[in-house]
Symmetry: C2
């Protein structure tokens, strides 16, 4: 993406720590800029300020910045184009996310501790819901069994759930599909053509990035700041790149766990509406508030037009093995999405939809137990990190399934590789980013049992100790995210 | 596609009937050629023989052919390019398949007679299989429920079924998916990029064409002759267009009901292997042999390499409401397809896969009842046509779910439109073709009850009587397909 960093922003991000490293300022500045590109504090392919303006912002001579830029250019971390300025880069044409290794669901051997999938086991009520669904099945078996938009009962139940959450919804606005990810795949198929831009968070959900790549679209990555979404940066990116789609997880963001404030929701909805960009809101985690303040109203409540498409799922609130989710959109868009789906996999299975109908209707009764379980596991995970790796920092998530750790050093890929050898499957930070290297971050979900989490964290911390960071820089004194 | 018709082939197709129409031969020849383009006996965008060679083949003067070609050029049914010859066309840039109107599954009102979907109701054993599956469910609910390639038991059961049919298969060669159509969608996603060519039958299954269009690939349509697949034409098209994929239904072809002979299987597999074309064989109907000779060996038995990918499904052998099918390919391709799927809709539902496992294991016991039911309905449909529309002709299918009627006149779209107004939903011939107009053909599935079929055919025949064919030509004396 075509991002750029202003002199004052960059000076702020650099802080003063770099000055103490070397009595000669230029190599120290080059070292710090290089470290920030590698560990993900500065995006790759970002336009840096001019030598003159950065020198002014830092209070150093223009020659110091010039020599630092020269050094970075020589080592491949900067590209300079006559008249177009200086751009961050990776040496030898390396691309961010080269370390991407997303676990194939099901591809994990049974004896491996799987920290790569943020999906909880099935709830207790599943068997009872399935038994009731079985009683309903004969009402449907005389028919052909197809219905690309889903069975009426489930569309009704999902519409009622949206309405109860403050987003009035008719059943005709709901299309049943195979999960939130499937919803995004269908929306990409309907609204995007190869080469279109799709705005994403950096960091964001890895399969959002792979779905965009599969649709041959181009991700435009907008960095999350330590405080969450940067509404200015979103507005800027939407205005300047006019993406066909923008995708985010506003409630308990994956991987950071952040929740988007109401005023940011209003601003990005308005920016998308102005640009003709469809905003896809992934509500997979919206039913998983564990504690903390109440959630702001759903993002789709901030618009009156067709700007926002909401995708949701039972995969986290109930069980991923169901493969039932939904898309909420205008009635017209639902019809068009159903036509897209009819050519792909026709429809969702009837029996599974009947089970899902029961589960959606009973969600209020089932969720408290799930919330208690996840809160216990979250607290166990955070406690384990505090005991075994107290130098890792993360912001406490109030919902969802994930913690996002700043390891303090660019060791994420090395750590995940070492972990795999030790029987722990965990996804490196690089998988979550389209614009930075992500090498300083690690996502740890809290879906496994407490003792498994304790053991896994202890082993990860021991492995991390012996690793050499890929930038070989000393740990930064500034954490990109607040401490727990 | 770039098809061409030789002088001797065209002379054979024209026969002698056209000569009696008009004492002046040129307008009669032009009329017959125009009628054959409109009603689908001649493809659109086919290269016609030179005036000289057609004149020789027909035993008429070159001037007669020249005047006929001039007349067709003037009325838009022929395009002539200096040095590149004469090509069939439609006036005003009309494209074949403009009448395409594929029923959206589930989009049919309850009081409409639905002859647009060839899908039978659920078998009697479904409830029992579902109850047994429910007992198995607890073995799976402790896990996360994802597994893009499917659960082991189902992969094993499908592999055993393939092996029993004479195609030795390991479970690792089987990927579970949401039906044969879904399998094709995944293969297109893995192997094709926008602009790639995909060879298809003309006529062929409509959703094959729409899936190819959705993948932004280009169909290369090879006409089926009245005798079935034309191996020479397949070899020619593969050699000259080097398609990335070729797709066909070799066992009880949809819509024609034909079965590909063993020697044709061997030839097209070899042609695909030589060109590096992956051959996708849709076996949706392979378990639905009602009578007639035994089926030849599965197409994939004719190769030793990775040329053939087989897709199959329980949708017709059991029930479409299950949404369970499979892809059989090399173990490596299965892994790659699973990765494609993981980014789209993750996996198939566990419960549905457990039901499907039971149904696949019990298929031998369940199929005879299904075969008896479908044979009765087929015979009822054919009897109804013989009573109410004896001028329609079709070849008797020995399996599958469809009959393909030659109406004798180019009225298919008009008939389907009139039928819709009368509460009967049926798909026009144009939906089944990428290279011709299909206007003379109508697909009638035999999945509804006998009395519904009798009533629907009587009403369709009455509607057809009053229609004016779009070519306003007299009915041809030659049927493109043999009589029943």
């Amino acid at each position: 993406m075509a991002s750029s960093v202003s002199a004052s922003t960059l000076a702020g991000r650099l802080g003063d720590g770099w000055r103490g490293r070397d009595p000669v300022l230029a190599p120290a500045l080059a070292h710090e800029l290089r470290a920030q590109v590698i560990d993900g504090r500065l995006p790759v392919r970002a336009r840096l300020p001019s030598e003159r303006s950065l020198a002014a912002a830092l209070g150093v001579s223009r020659g110091t910045v010039g020599r630092a830029y020269d050094e970075l250019t020589r080592t491949g971390f900067l590209r300079r184009t006559q008249g177009a300025g200086s751009w961050t880069a990776l040496p030898d044409g390396a691309r961010p996310g080269v370390g991407l290794r997303v676990t194939l669901p099901g591809g994990v051997a049974p004896d491996v501790v799987n920290l790569s999938v943020a999906a909880p086991p099935a709830p207790e009520g599943l068997a009872a819901a399935a038994a009731r669904a079985l009683d309903e099945l004969p009402r449907h078996t005389a028919g052909m069994g197809y219905g690309a938009a889903g069975i009426d009962d489930l569309r009704q139940a999902v519409a009622e759930r949206f309405s109860a959450r403050g987003l009035p919804t008719r059943p005709g606005q709901v299309m049943v599909c195979g999960g939130a990810q499937h919803g995004l795949h269908l929306v990409l198929g309907l609204l995007c053509k190869p080469g279109d831009r799709v705005l994403v968070d950096d960091p964001g959900y890895p399969r959002t990035l792979t779905a965009i790549a599969a649709a041959r679209c181009r991700p435009v990555a907008v960095p999350l700041t330590p405080d969450g979404w940067d509404a200015d940066a979103w507005e800027h990116a939407i205005r300047h790149t006019r993406p066909a789609l923008a995708v985010t997880v506003a409630d308990f963001h994956n991987p950071t766990g952040r929740t988007m404030p109401a005023e940011t929701r209003a601003r990005i909805v308005a920016a998308c509406a102005r640009a003709g960009t469809t905003l896809v809101i992934d509500e997979t985690n919206a039913e998983l508030r564990l504690d903390g303040p109440p959630l702001p109203p759903p993002v789709a409540t901030f618009e009156r037009g067709p700007t926002v498409i909401t995708v949701g799922s039972l995969s986290k609130a109930s069980w991923g093995g169901l493969r039932v989710g939904w898309v909420r959109a205008s009635g017209r868009a639902v019809g068009e999405l159903a036509a897209v789906r009819a050519d792909q996999d026709a429809a969702s299975p009837i029996l599974e939809q009947l089970v899902a109908t029961q589960l959606v209707r009973d969600l209020d009764a089932a969720l408290p137990a799930r919330h208690r379980l996840l809160a216990q596991r979250r607290d166990a995970l955070i406690g384990a990190v505090a005991r075994h790796a107290p130098h890792w920092t993360a912001r406490m998530p109030h919902g969802g399934l994930c913690t996002w750790w700043d390891l303090g050093r660019a060791v994420s890929s090395s750590l995940c590789e070492a972990a795999l050898g030790a029987g722990i499957h965990v996804t490196p930070g690089s998988a979550f980013t389209a614009g930075t290297t992500g090498e300083r971050f690690l996502r740890l979900p809290y879906v496994l049992a407490e003792d498994e989490l304790e053991d896994a964290v202890a082993r990860l911390a021991a492995l991390e100790e012996g690793l050499v960071p890929i930038d070989a820089a000393r740990p930064s004194r500034r954490a990109a995210l607040d401490a727990v």
